[in-house]
Each structure stands twice: as C-alpha cells, then as structure tokens.
C-alpha cells in the first residue's frame, strides 16, 4: 500500500509541533479574513508571503494553504448570519442560509455548513492524495509544446473568474502577460520595458502586484461607498440540526462533495462554479424546489460541501502541473519558488515529505476548522463589529511592511501603489483583476515554453498541432473560448453572477 505509506509520511510531517501550530494559525487567519468583508484570502496570502520566508518550506505552505481553505469556511459564516458573503463562493450559501437565520435557525445552518465542509474537505483531500501521483507521472511526459498549450488552456479557462465581458477578461489576461514580460529577457538577457530603472531588471515582484490589485484596490473601492455597511447580527442558538435536518442534508453533502471535487480541478475559480452548480442541482433534484430561497437546508449543505471540496482539489493542478487555478494558487507558486522548489510534477518525487505533509495538513486543518468554528462562532460574530476605519489602515500598513520586507526595496512598495491605482481603475471600468494576476504569473511560463518549443522544433510552429497532448489541449482551449463567447452560455453566466450580487 504505497498510498498508506505516503499518507503516513505526510501525517508524520504534518503532526510536527510547529506544523500543527502554523496550520492552526493559517486556518484561524483564514477564517478571520473570510469573516471580515473587504479583505480576501488573496490579499492576506500576498501580505503574509514575505513573513513565511523564515519558515521551513513545508510549514510555510501549510500555513498559506490553511488561510485559503479557512477563508472558504469563514465566508459562509457571514453569509449565513448577515447575508454578506465574505468570499465569492459563499454567495450561494447566503441565499438559503441567511433565510434560515432569519427564521431563527442560524444554528443548524452554521452546523450544516461546518459538517458539510468537514466531510467534503476530508473526501477531497483523499481524492487529492489518490489522483495527484498518477497525474504527476503523466505530467512528466509533457514537452515544452504541451506545457505551452496547457498554460494557454489554463489562462483561457480563467475567464470564468471574471464576471462581465469575456473580451475584457481576455484583455486583462493579455495585460497581465505584458506586465510579466518586464525585466531581463530569459534567453538573451536584454532588458525589456525597464525604462532604465535598475529595479525593474529583475521583473516586477508579483507580491507587489497581488497586494496592489487585491489589497489596495479593494480598499479604495470600499472607501468609495463608505456608508453602505450595515450589520444586523442575530443570536445563535440550538446549534445542532434536528433529526429531520440531519436526514435531509446527507444526500446534498454527498452530491456537493462529488461536484466540488470534480470542478475544483478546473483552472479558474472552480470553487465558485462548484457552489453554484451544486445549488442548481439540489434545486432540481429536490422534491420541494419551492423551499429553495426560503431557508431550505439542502441549499446550505450542497454548496458549502461543494466549495470546500473544490478548495482542496484546486491544489491538484498546482501540485502536479505547477499550474495555478486561482489567484491564491498563483501566490502559492510564488511561495514554492522563493523556497527554491519549482512547483510541478517533480515536487512529489523530490520533496515527498513536503507534498504529503501538505496534503495531510489539509485534513488536520479541516478538523481544526470544525473545532474552531462550532464552539467559537460567537467570537467570529464579534469580529464583525471591528469598525472599518481600524481595519483598513491595518491592511495598508501591513501591506507596506510586508512588501518592503520582501527585498528591503522601496521600489516594491511604490509598485503596490501603482498596481493599487491600476486595479481600482480597472474595477471601475468593469474589469476584474483576477485574470490579470493569473496572466502575470503564467505569462513568463507561457513565453518560456513557447520559445523553447520553437527552438527545439527549429522554428516550426506546427509542433503545437502535431504533438497529440498539445493538440488536444489546444482544442479544449479553443472550445472553452468558443463557449465563453457564445451568447447562450454568456447569458447563463450573467444570471449566475447576477444572483451573486
């Protein structure tokens, strides 16, 4: 049983005192930022990334991963209690969860979300453990042409991250790639777009980009409509679901887990997609579809399980292919790189303790989340009372310190101002910054593989079509692009996002 041996190795790594401790810190922070509106996991991970430089690589990654799935969890709490999803994937939970809270059944709703998430997290972690090694072996067969096509596919699928026009999302990706080309050229060493600034030779630091786009821009947006924040907080009683509730949530949790685990693998906001799909499925299979939107417990159980399962399985493309599926994953790539590990198929062989430790820690993290959330729900509710005027200077200050401590370079700090303003302008114009960050991270990879493939093929561009893996991936990419542009699907996507608003 190779799998059991591997898991044993993983747990022995993950149960080290400092790893459990930082896993705890990670999920705690993650839940906190998930609960607090106006600061998401992307900004948090970006800010904390510099801090983790001093840690062991595995500890750093465990903590960052904890922030990510902790935030998925925390987001549902606010969605249920005050109809304010802290994270985009929790938006569906708000539909029925908040309705339940208004009927005085906030307790069972929260418990359902917690139990569903825990179950889904456990299963999805197992899926990750089983599916990752064979995928990594497949990935080793990939040549540069295949990688190029894969990255391109990932980028195109990330359109799903952006609400609104496909054209704009594509534009954002291209803009991200262009920012990614700043710095010395990989083959000739020629400086590009550096405007004779020495600091730009090494490229723009992606932490600055992420902090600017997701931290600073978000704050500017929130300050733009300051008076719209109101919080009505209901009392939470009777945590345990009734027997009837328990019976009703079993099937949705199972379905949600399956859906989430499958969709999470897709690059580009799989967890948002997963929770919406799960909600739609539950509504369709339910014997009482009219209850949905009026406090149906299935409408909490399904999507919550789905988004948590997807949060776990979205690590699959990262760990096996080195391809981030989500802006947070893009930051994790950065975390791997600063610790001198190239994310991709080799991680599993070269750093088995890290790989399996990370997976095992996810299960521990889910357990911690369950313990953390059910008894401490009152504490999270209290956190909502922190006034924004305290919160945003804290975010800005930590962002500035975090970015500065990266290289002790003032230039990185100026860069967050630039990207903050840019992100704000883009948000105002209806362009989402998430595809841009993915473009920024994946752009250099795309270029490198494109050029390497062309060098190997002696400049013959048909290499992308003659290699089977590459051709198949390109076909999927084209199909995805066509689907995204087709009006029917676009309308449905608009509906989905309209519900989210």
């Amino acid at each position: 049983m190779e799998l059991l041996d591997n898991l044993a190795l993983g747990f022995s790594t993950a149960f080290l005192v400092q790893n459990v401790l930082y896993c705890f810190v990670g999920v705690l922070l993650g839940t906190a930022v998930g609960v607090l509106p106006g600061i998401g996991p992307t900004a948090t991970v970006a800010m904390l990334l510099p801090i983790t430089f001093n840690f062991e690589p595995v500890t750093a990654l465990i903590m960052l991963a904890g922030i990510y799935y902790g935030a998925q969890y925390g987001g549902s709490t606010t969605a249920i209690l005050i109809n304010l999803p802290g994270e985009s994937s929790a938006a569906v939970t708000a539909l029925d969860g908040h309705e339940m809270a208004r009927q005085g059944r906030a307790g069972p709703a929260l418990a359902t979300a917690a139990i569903g998430s825990f179950f889904a997290g456990t299963v999805a972690t197992l899926v990750l453990a089983v599916a990752a090694p064979p995928l990594a072996r497949v990935a080793l067969e990939f040549g540069p042409a295949d990688y190029f096509s894969l990255v391109l596919l990932g980028l195109i699928l990330s359109i799903a991250l952006a609400r609104g026009s496909t054209l704009k999302a594509l534009g954002m990706i291209a803009l991200g790639i262009l920012f990614g080309t700043v710095g010395q050229d990989i083959y000739t060493g020629t400086p590009r777009f550096t405007f004779d600034q020495r600091e730009l030779y090494g490229g723009i630091d992606f932490v600055s980009v992420a902090v600017g786009l997701f931290g600073v821009a978000e704050i500017l947006r929130n300050l733009g409509n300051e008076d719209s924040r109101t919080a009505v907080i209901s009392k939470v009683r009777n945590l345990w679901p009734t027997k009837e509730d328990r019976r009703r949530i079993v099937a949705p949790i199972l379905r949600g887990t399956g859906l989430g685990a499958a969709l999470g693998v897709l690059p580009g906001g799989g967890h948002v997609l997963a929770s919406f799909t799960s909600y739609a499925v539950e509504k369709r299979v339910s014997k009482r579809p009219e209850e949905f939107g009026h406090g149906a417990i299935e409408g909490v159980a399904g999507p919550e399980s789905a988004n948590n399962a997807a949060a776990q399985t979205s690590f699959i493309p990262l760990l096996t292919l080195g391809l981030p599926a989500h802006p947070v994953m893009a930051l994790m790539v950065g975390a791997f790189i600063v610790h001198g590990i190239t994310p991709g198929p080799n991680v599993i062989n070269e750093e088995p303790a890290l790989f399996w430790g990370l997976i095992a820690s996810m299960w521990i993290g889910n357990l911690l989340l369950l313990l953390l959330n059910l008894p401490l729900i009152g504490m999270w509710v209290q956190m909502l009372r922190i006034p924004y005027p305290v919160l945003f200077p804290m975010i800005i200050l930590f962002a500035a310190i975090g970015t500065y401590s990266l290289n002790f370079n003032a230039f990185d700090v100026y860069a967050i101002v630039f990207f903050g303003l840019l992100g704000y302008i883009l948000i105002k114009c209806g362009c989402e910054p998430a595809p841009m960050l993915l473009g920024f991270v994946l752009g250099p990879l795309l270029e490198e593989h494109l050029r390497r493939a062309l060098i190997i093929s002696r400049g013959d561009p048909t290499v992308f079509l003659t290699r089977p893996i590459s051709a198949a991936l390109l076909a999927v990419a084209v199909a995805a692009l066509v689907i995204a542009v087709l009006p029917v699907i676009r309308k449905r996507r608009e509906q989905v996002f309209a519900e989210e608003e």
Binding site: A174, L175, T188, L220, P389, P393, L397, I401, V417, I425
Partner: protein, 136 residues
C-alpha cells in the same frame, strides 16, 4: 468603460511596438492581441453607446493612501520602522471621512505598537526601529 479600453489600448501600443525581434517577439505578439482586444472593447462600447459611468471617485481616499504608502517606501530606511509606521497609519486613517482626529491618533498608535511587536519582535525583521535620521 471606454476609458478602461483606452488605458488598455494605449498600454499595448507603447509597450508592444518599439521592440526588436528576438527578445521582443513574444511581447509584440501579446501586445498585438492586446491591441486587438482593446479596439474590440472600444468598438463594442461605442456601438452599444454606453456612457462612461465611473461613479463617485474617492479622491481623498486615493490621495491619502498613495501618500501613505509612498511615504512608507521613501522614509522607512531613513526614519526607521516605528516613526514611519506611525505616520503611514495616521495618513491612511485620513482616507476615510468618518474618522475623528483623536480616533485616528489612537488607531495609528495602536497599529504601530502592534506592527512593531509582530514584525520586529515576533518575526525578527531586519529593519531598524529608529533610522539614521533620528540618531543624533
């Protein structure tokens, strides 16, 4: 909307064209795609006749935050961690029109102490607490 498209379009022009082949090949390619997309967005915006609706722009917030972060970048080496953090936090609080002065000072002080404890004491960041400008 149209404004955004122009930002996008102009960026691609200035970045995409003045490059030699070789290192410039890839950016030129992407720049071209970018330009096409930018034009596409503009045309779509014009055809649909959508007006530019940017809404209220929080100039005060933008100015305060830009100033605060630039201040941090410029002075952290010169003044050291503690005074720079305090001023940065104070400047940031000015971004919100709802913050009273006393409250702002309290928040800034609290954050400075907190940040110092976390980053310098807790994580042993190598930034001097007080920089060369303050050592007489």
């Amino acid at each position: 909307m149209i404004g955004g498209a122009f930002v996008v379009g102009s960026l691609s022009y200035s970045l995409g064209t003045p490059l030699r082949m070789g290192p410039g090949y890839f950016p030129l390619l992407v720049g071209g795609i970018m330009t096409a997309l930018g034009i596409g967005i503009v045309v779509k915006g014009l055809v649909a006749g959508e007006p530019i609706t940017l809404g209220a722009v929080p100039w005060r917030a933008i100015a305060a935050i830009v100033l605060a972060v630039v201040f941090f970048g410029f002075f952290v080496r010169r003044l050291g961690f503690v005074p720079t953090s305090a001023v940065t936090a104070l400047l940031t609080t000015l971004a919100s029109s709802r913050v009273k002065p006393l409250w702002a000072v309290a928040v800034a002080a609290g954050l400075t102490v907190g940040a110092t404890l976390i980053f310098v004491v807790g994580l042993q960041l190598r930034i001097p607490l007080f920089g060369p400008w303050l050592q007489f």
